[in-house]
């Protein structure tokens, strides 16, 4: 006998709640980071901006209204324990997530941001071709599913470049600074932000790694590789030493945290991407257990040892012993 089926109605209702939470409630880890930034900021205009943002989060929660008028582009990350079973299968799950996205767009309300790239057709519900994106991950054990929604905003703050091994760390720093300078001016990146850096993978996966580094890791988390963790500290410091703060005004807080994720890449290359998860870092997570319990949280906890595995086989016994 397999585990109990997770009912579709529970998936849809949980997803609708997540849409609402993501749009309205700033995650605690980002809020803590921004409060710390507000404490240290000494640029007078930057300070005013940070103070206004902190008031804005309160207003959003009190009024149950979206914290930002640009409510981003809703997307889903679904993680399944290896034993999880969904009523109707994955096609039914995808339909439920699309319904939840459409319902919440009208319900919260969110801004219907999604349009056809050429014809600019707007269904007024954030659903369309390829929208919302639904991506999957799996974990070796468990009959639960994690629903993670991220409503990342922004036309700005993201860039990709194919670097090479000869570019080295100083080339990586240069591209990082270039991205912050280009998108930080006039505050186009809506900083201070969680900066995600993707290193390696193929071109598309490099973008995916960086996007996930900014949106699926919390402020204060560190990469499990201690050398990369050191880079994260150093890059945070570097970004905050430009002298640019919120809205591109003189200030010392541009980067609330810097998260780096890596993937194996072509031996001749060193692809790099940079992403900025803005002042409205919208993410919400719920785990639905096979018995129907729903546990809400704000840490996607996406980058588990299994997601960062390096070897052919995954030996759960060995992992547990370590």
């Amino acid at each position: 006998m397999g585990a109990k089926m997770i009912p579709l109605s529970l998936i849809q209702s949980t997803a609708e709640t997540l849409m609402d939470k993501a749009a309205i409630e700033i995650p605690q880890d980002y809020l803590d980071g921004l409060q710390e930034a507000a404490r240290t900021e000494d640029g007078d205009l930057s300070s005013f901006v940070l103070k206004a943002m902190l008031e804005n989060y309160e207003a959003a929660k009190e009024d149950r209204r979206a914290m930002c008028g640009d409510t981003g582009v809703p997307r889903w990350f679904v993680k399944l324990g290896n034993e999880a079973q969904v009523e109707g299968g994955m096609v039914a799950l995808e339909a439920a997530l699309r319904r939840a996205t459409a319902n919440a767009t009208n319900g919260v309300p969110l801004r219907p941001n999604r349009v056809h790239p050429l014809w600019r057709t707007d269904h007024d519900n954030n659903v369309g071709i390829g929208a919302p994106e639904i991506e999957y991950g799996f974990e070796p054990e468990g009959a639960w599913i994690d629903l993670i929604t991220v409503h990342k905003g922004g036309l700005f703050g993201t860039d990709y470049r194919m670097l090479f091994p000869s570019d080295g760390i100083e080339g990586i720093k240069r591209f990082y600074l270039d991205s912050l300078m280009a998108f930080g001016k006039r505050g186009l990146a809506c900083q201070p932000a969680i900066i995600g850096i993707g290193l390696g993978g193929s071109k598309d996966i490099c973008m995916t790694l960086g996007k996930r580094a900014s949106t699926l890791r919390v402020v204060g988390s560190r990469n499990s590789d201690p050398e990369i963790a050191k880079m994260e500290d150093e890059f945070k410091e570097l970004g905050n030493s430009i002298g640019m703060g919120a809205m591109g005004f003189v200030g010392k807080n541009m980067v609330i945290d810097c998260n780096i994720e890596v993937g194996y890449c072509h031996t001749g290359g060193l692809p790099m991407s940079v992403h900025a998860f803005c002042l409205s870092s919208r993410r919400a997570v719920a785990r639905i257990q096979a018995d129907g319990r729903v546990e809400h949280r704000t840490d996607p906890d996406w980058f588990t040892p299994y997601q960062r595995r390096e070897t052919v086989e995954w030996d759960t016994v060995k992992e547990a012993a370590e």
Binding site: M53, M67, D167, D178, R186, G248
Partner: protein, 221 residues
């Protein structure tokens, strides 16, 4: 020093506009309409009649798509409102200002001082930036009611022309003045002095890109 706070009508007098200084914090009262690429193209390129009396009813153009819905009974619900980046609309603004008499362009990120000098100043207009840019909930509180939505059938909710009644709506920040000075360029100039030091030791990429600028003190818009 804390910035100065000002209340301003969305049909402001010349004196009220002339009194604004870069970095002032502004709260708006009166009617304001949203107009961005969809509205500009329909009004200026397709020559559709603008469904409002401008600038009599409002001289404030908000570069914004609200998080809002139209209910089945025709009423409106508006949650949060936040601006979108304005520099993309520079190609339509001179004609728009001439046609509508807009005096307050409200948006994200501002324009260049060249834009300000070329057509803001001659039209007696200034630029107000939203703050953050994510103070959507605070701005939403300043919306007393939605007066009307125009062209939602043609343009969709995000591009429609929303007419909102502002009641101490803000904060906004004055990003240009009647001399054509630009707040963001002033701030960029202050930061520019530090750029060489931050870049020290980093090196340019091995493979070049055909690019637009290698001078980090340049404007990007």
């Amino acid at each position: 020093m804390a910035p100065r706070e000002v209340r301003l009508s969305t049909t402001p007098t010349l004196e009220a506009i002339a009194d604004l200084r870069l970095g002032d914090i502004v709260y708006l009262d009166g009617l304001m309409y949203t107009a961005r690429e969809g509205v500009y193209m329909r009004a200026l390129e397709d020559k559709a009649n603008i469904p409002m009396e401008l600038p009599g009813q409002s001289a404030a153009n908000f570069h914004c798509s609200p998080a809002a819905r139209i209910n089945p009974d025709g009423s409106f619900d508006m949650g949060a409102v936040t601006a979108t980046a304005s520099f993309r609309f520079a190609k339509w603004l001179p004609e728009w200002m001439a046609k509508t008499g807009a005096k307050l362009i409200v948006g994200k990120g501002g324009m260049t001082s060249k834009d300000y000098k070329d057509y803001f100043v001659p039209n007696g207009a200034v630029y107000l930036s939203t703050v953050g840019y994510g103070t959507g909930a605070l701005l939403g509180r300043g919306v007393e009611r939605v007066e009307a939505v125009h062209w939602n059938e043609e343009l969709g909710l995000a591009q429609a022309m929303w007419v909102i009644k502002c009641n101490r709506m803000g904060p906004f920040i004055v990003a240009s003045d009647l001399q054509g000075n630009c707040l963001f360029e002033r701030e960029n100039a202050k930061i520019a002095g530090n750029v060489a030091r931050v870049y020290e030791g980093t090196k340019p990429a091995t493979l070049k890109r055909y690019g637009e600028s290698d001078d980090r003190t340049d404007e990007v818009i």
